[in-house]
Amino acid sequence: MKKDITRRGLGLGASALVLAAPAVRAQTAAPTAVKIGYAVSKTGPNAGGTAVSITPNYQLWVRNVNATGGLRLGDRRAPIEVVEYDDRSSSEDAVRAIERLVNQDKVDLILAPWGTALNLAIGPVMNRAGYPQIAVNAVTDRAPDLGRRWPNSFWFLGTSAEYAAGLVELLSKQREAGLIGNNIAMVSVADGFGIDLVNAARPALQRAGFRASYDRTYPVGTQDMAPILAEAARSNPDAFIAFSYPPDTLAITEQARVSGFNPKMFYVGVGTAFPLFKERFGANAEGVMGIGGWQADSPRVQEYMRQHKELVGREPDRWGSSVCYASLEMLQQAIERVGRIDRPAIIRELQTGTFDTILGPMKLEGNVRREQWVVGQWQNGEFMAVAPAAKAGARPPVLPKPAWRST
């Protein structure tokens, strides 16, 4: 009888594999399946980030796990069954969806939504229900506090202070090498992440002896970057820094290209790591720095890239996506080490274990992932990690940035 059920489970796994692409809600009562639920933003302002960094990785992971027959629980394998909802980018809907997943669908595990706000919104519910929360796409300066407050929550993208510190360290190194001087021009978007980054960068720059001769904030949704860039160019900076969101990142880079503003170092914010950036600027992406980065020459990263392209039809972004996938590998290994769906034990394993992921061995400290890539640079068509320089696998940055080519 037991054997029979297992075989049915395997059959299910195979059929789930066939159906995996549109991640359907498999309605089945197979007792051997592991039910995994998530409520992510399919609509609303967070839909873009979710579609880039979250959903493809959840789907890819479920597909890969089910292709091997499922999660290994003791001596059998249990395929993953997915229950998914749309939180419509609303905190209240996200909270309700988690309550529904826990109490109505009675899922075994829950995957987190995209963004800081939604992860904080579901934090108390996840904590009360005792589910591990892998907040993979959230950057918050309170990450270490949150890890203590909710021991079931894990924070993967670090704090904005780390990103600012890594950037300033890189600048200092280039100055020591005599490649740039002290003069910085800096713009930032007037919204959560932009403000946090610039607030962390200002004192760090000052401590390092840099002079921000231009420091300007612009509102979310600014379309015309020409005046800002003209003023920045007039200050004749050695390095230009933009703590920008994806649309602005594209607009600023485009305007710099059009106006021929080509400082020795050119850094733009969120979105530089998107494949879209490379498609849009082609050879002109070369030398542009931005937030994120990865070790593109690692065979496992290349294998991940190939699978992602095959499933989703496009390349992953070079910042959050691979971290998201790696966090799922960690979750899988934690479950399989525990050998059953025992949430407190899985949480303990995530807190203390070391895991083997596409990004190399990974271990959390105080529920926070340390040592991440904070600055990347487009080099020969790949967004290579360049900072922190001390981390194994960092590429040396290439300065000065080559001139814009006319297209």
Binding site: K42, T43, P45, E84, Y85, D86, R88, S90, S91, E92, D93, V95, R96, A97, E99, R100, V102, N103, Q104, T116, A117, L120, A121, G123, P124, A129, R142, R149, A190, D191, G192, I195, D196, N199, T217
Partner: protein, 303 residues
């Protein structure tokens, strides 16, 4: 509503306060949602029903209340935070009321819709240029059950206020204004003051709901607090229920809140379009609201 009816309803609310002892998960979350919209829609109808001014400012006052908690929640004791939220809501509604309640019809609708966006932008400007941080953490030790009880208490208070209002001079004045504002002015009613007073009362309740709900989300930024969809949801719930009686809006809140829940759970990918269709149906098929429909049925007229 008679005193007996009010007493029965309040007793019913008191009985519903037992819910958190039965379930603290999904059903409590659903009950919180219903209670939240019950207060908002009833408060909305209390002003918009008699005066026939369609207000889209619900999100503005709700957001003000929520933001007050985000700013003061960790500094002041909880009752004081609620008090401050109510006072800010009242002051703002008086300012807005005196400035705009002379507008009528579509001008008022447009203004109130803009109000939430205006306040959102002001808060954003302040956070960017003065406090230099966007997004606030709300770590207040308030349980879900306490949120629910506070919402029930607010609803009870609102019903008591509404009952009292219906018998007061102010209530009568508003009724006359709703029938014909020119006549009201001619019989010596200070129409502006009556409207502003009611607008303020209704707004205070909206601000309090925002304050009570804020701890549920842990994190607030202006886009979360001043979400315009709240204004529209409340409007459609009140219209479905009917605005001519005190308990009318509730008849719209309960079915729509349940329907939204079913749609979210069953049709996560088609939610928005289905809700749009529901809105159209409500406006075309039940223009007098469910309570109007019931009243007509009771009178024996063909529905």
């Amino acid at each position: 509503m008679s005193n007996t009816a009010l007493a029965i309803v309040l007793a019913g609310l008191a009985a519903m306060a037992a819910l958190p002892f039965l379930d603290t998960g999904f059903w409590l979350a659903l009950a919180i949602s219903i209670a939240q919209y019950a207060v908002l829609a009833t408060a909305w109808a209390m002003f918009s029903g008699p005066t026939r001014y369609v207000s889209l400012a619900t999100a503005a006052f709700f957001g003000i209340g929520a933001y007050t908690v985000a700013v003061l929640g960790e500094v002041l004791p909880w009752p004081v935070v609620l008090l401050v939220a109510g006072v800010i809501g009242a002051v703002l509604s008086l300012l807005v009321g005196f400035a705009t309640l002379r507008l009528s019809g579509v001008y008022f609708v447009v203004f109130t819709f803009g109000l939430a966006e205006l306040i959102r932008q002001l808060v954003t400007w302040f956070e960017v240029n003065v406090t230099r941080s966007m997004g606030r953490y709300v770590f207040v030790e308030i349980t879900q059950a306490q949120i629910y009880w506070q919402l029930l208490a607010l609803f009870g208070a609102l019903l008591a206020l509404g009952t009292w209002l219906a018998r007061s001079r102010l209530g009568f004045a508003l009724h006359v204004i709703g029938e014909d504002e020119t006549v009201a002015r001619h019989v010596g009613i200070d129409t502006a003051r009556a409207k502003v007073a009611l607008f303020a009362l209704s707004s205070v309740f909206m601000a309090l709901v925002g304050a009570v709900m804020a701890p549920r989300w842990t994190y607030l930024d202006p886009a979360i607090a001043f979400n315009p969809s709240i204004s529209f949801t409340v409007l459609i719930m009140a219209l479905l229920g009917g605005t001519r009686s005190l308990l009318g809006p509730l008849l719209g809140v309960v079915p729509l809140a349940l329907l939204f829940e079913v749609l979210t759970a069953r049709f996560p990918n088609h939610f928005s379009i289905l809700v749009g269709i529901v809105f159209l149906l409500v406006v075309y098929a039940v223009p007098q609201g469910v309570s109007g429909l019931l009243a007509r049925l009771r009178r024996g007229a063909p529905a």
